[in-house]
Amino acid sequence: MSPRKVYMDHSATTFVDGSVLERMLPFFSEKYGNPNSVHAWGREVRASVEEARSSVARLINAEPREILFTGGGSEADNLAIKGVAEALSEKGRHVVTTAIEHHAVLDTVKWLGKHGYDVTILPVDGNGLVDIEVFRNALRPDTILATVMAANNEVGTIQPIREMGKVCRERGILFHTDGVQAAGHIPLDVKDLPIDLMTMAAHKMYGPKGVGALFVRKGVRILPLVHGGGQEFGLRSGTENTAGLVGFGAAAELAMRRMAAGEIEVERRLRDRLIEGVLSRIEDVTLTGHRTLRLPFHASFCIRYIEGEAMLLRLDFAGIGASSGSACTSGSLEPSYVLLAMGLDHATAHGSLRLTLGKETSEGDIDYILETLPPIVQTLRSMSPFKKNA
């Protein structure tokens, strides 16, 4: 029906790149051994799993021993937060986070708040940034962990994790960052950055879904959530998802190649053209999130006087896959808590639109969006009681 298909929801998930899938396929029926077995079948797969661990480690300049594989980003966030809280409960029971974290972090911290821990949830400014002084002042003698995302999924804002990690290190507080959106897209070097734990997910960088990793700096002690056979250095039991882990390794290698080849810069320029095009072609639109401290593939807006779900459906019928933080799309009563935390009013937040680019996004795709979106906005505004035909 629609002449073109343009997937612009890579923050939700990426496709599995062909080079990644190719590396995964042998691990289903051909190299099916359990990596914990001593025989040849097992040893062969063990070698591949450890190779994958090394690749993921190289992506963030960690040691392979510092990478734990998990069943996704949410599990890694849970393991980091509960694992540290449990391990350090004698030392202190205060955890600091921010109002715009992914639910995997925010709800885990809130859960701790109901189970004997004190929780501080920090506000953000209109760009979605945490104020470093506010952060510093929130830390207490009994603070054991601060967890702040490297970059936000809804608005793309990149947090000053270096500064926050430094403050934590000075105070002897562990610092975790949810790097699910950032890893593989912006340089993250754990030898350079003062962070102790970091979450990553394969499916945000052209790897498979259901595979995550937690970087745990050498010397940092956490306790497991999943007990059993003692896999992943005793911190995440269960027979390894070998194809998935190998896929994550291949995805990490792809990400390193893309960054080295300047592909991210190309993506950023396309993204800038999209942002500038939307802002110049449509009235009463604001960019949400920081203009420059922002994920290179991420564009997000609030389009006033109209509602997000209606926009998404019309875009979908025109072949464009996007997302929104309106209440109608979240299935909750409220529009995006991230946008509300940034100080946007409800009506404006209902008109949010997120467009996230990927490695296959072309100039032609951006042209198509810039042709397609303005008339959709105009049509919906012509129906809106708040704004006459723009």
Binding site: E307, G308, L313, L333, S384, P385, F386
Partner: protein, 150 residues
Amino acid sequence: MSMYNEKVIEAFMNPKNVGAMENPDGVGEVGNPKCGDVMKIYLRVKDDRIEDIRFETFGCAAAIATSSTATEMVKGRSIEEALKLTNRDVAEALGGLPPEKIHCSLLAEEGIHAAVEDYRRRREGLPPLPPRHDAVCHHDLPGSEGSTDV
């Protein structure tokens, strides 16, 4: 996102009776921008019959579809008949709505009722009915239990 049937999609993509009306005989504005849906209904009434009806809606696909369908259902009807329109009638005419969207059909019913009330007030020389933007969000009505924070 909600799964809509073809009738809802058709009404959303090609809505009827859209836009403001010059010198209406009655106007009803209901909903709450906080909740993400506001519906404004304009009436032209002649001999107690709805000669013309228009709507303007800020809201999701279901809100727009139900606005369109509800206005079509009462156009040409008497005021009394229009007041008998229920949210169930609107939802049925659309072949059903996802549970979390039932409140949208309620908004259509309320919008038409408010417009008729405004028409009657004006006829009695009372000041027009002010917009009601303080409505409680209807999302928590029966049938919307499926809504969860995801």
